[in-house]
């Protein structure tokens, strides 16, 4: 006869297997950009969000992206003869975008790990709840049986 502990091990093994096969985080497939800078940066930020980054974590990156946009617009509004200033601004834009892309990539790794851990904890909590529930059931049945026995011995026979 199969023991209850064997069933428990089997269920845990199935759960772990399902967790490993299934997606660890919402995998919004974002195509790689054909061009660098802005395209790369936004894809990196979107990937971080898909991996589970919170708005508080992505907000500084979005602020930097908007700063890059402002500098880019400033560069494009310069007269054609101000080449040096334009190049300096565009260099700053590229620097910001590279920085954002790197930070977003780091955030993707961190968020993916955190999402995976949270998922494992949530599924393990389910097992713990089931175990506790089963013990509660056993305890309940035990107490009910004791109550029934007690009531049986308290019965009195009355003559009609």
């Amino acid at each position: 006869m199969t023991r209850a502990s064997d069933w428990l091990i089997l269920i845990i093994a199935i759960l772990v297997a399902v967790t490993m096969i299934g997606p660890l985080y919402p995998s919004a497939q974002i195509n790689q950009p054909l061009q660098p800078s802005f395209g790369q940066a936004i894809v990196a930020v979107n990937n971080a969000e898909a991996a589970g980054a919170t708005p508080n974590e992505t907000a500084p990156l979005v602020t930097l992206l908007n700063k890059a946009l402002e500098l880019n617009q400033e560069a494009s509004s310069l007269p054609p003869n101000q080449t040096e200033q334009r190049n300096a601004l565009l260099s700053s834009v590229n620097e910001i975008l590279t920085n954002v892309t790197n930070q977003a990539n780091d955030l993707t790794s961190t968020s993916a790990r955190r999402t995976y851990t949270n998922k494992i904890i949530t599924y393990l909590s389910g097992i713990v709840v089931a175990v506790v529930g089963t013990f509660a059931y056993v305890l309940g049945v035990e107490l009910y049986q004791r109550y029934r026995i007690k009531r049986t011995f308290q019965m009195r026979v009355k003559a009609k």
Binding site: L34, F38, E49, N66, S125, G126, I127, V129, V138, E142
Partner: protein
Amino acid sequence: MKFISTQNKRTLIAVFIALIVVAETAAFVATTPRPQELFFQFYVLGSNRLAADYYPQNNTNVRVASPLSWYVGVTNFMGNVQLVEIRLKLGNETTTPPNDTSNTPSSAPELITFDRFLMNNETWEFPFAWSITNATATGGSTRILTAKINNETYEISNWSATNGYNFRLILELWVWQTNTNAFEYGWSSNGERRTAWLQIWFNMTNPSSPPPPA
């Protein structure tokens, strides 16, 4: 335990499996994101940040140097960070507006664009102060030559209307597409193409500047 030794173990296993199924279903529901409608909210408001008072005294007949103060806003409900662009186009009565069926933008000439990265659920609202700074009326046609938008003066070519009636400003929402690396008119939501655009009409039957206040 007495219960285990006396009762059928199958009952216990069945209870445990039932609890596992319930608890893990709850865990799955808790960790799976809900499907949501993806869209943008796009609006233009009058000087009091209401959908009213677009023109002083509600008179849509604009004159040269009459300042108009509006607010343009976009809210991102796409579920992630988006790069949006608002394109301002200049039209008149005969201009082809954007087509909601074919999702094509207006063919009107573009004057200016406004770009911004938006977080999910973020609203970007910016002042849109504009005035016509130079216009002529000749031969039954009013032609707008220059306009000031947010303190920048723009020279305009080929923006005219018969007798100064039915000029319009068209605002279109363009969104950066990561797969094409370019702005595209509208966005995709659950496999469908969606667009958002606004237009506001005005007349300029008497281009001369209003008299100075007494």
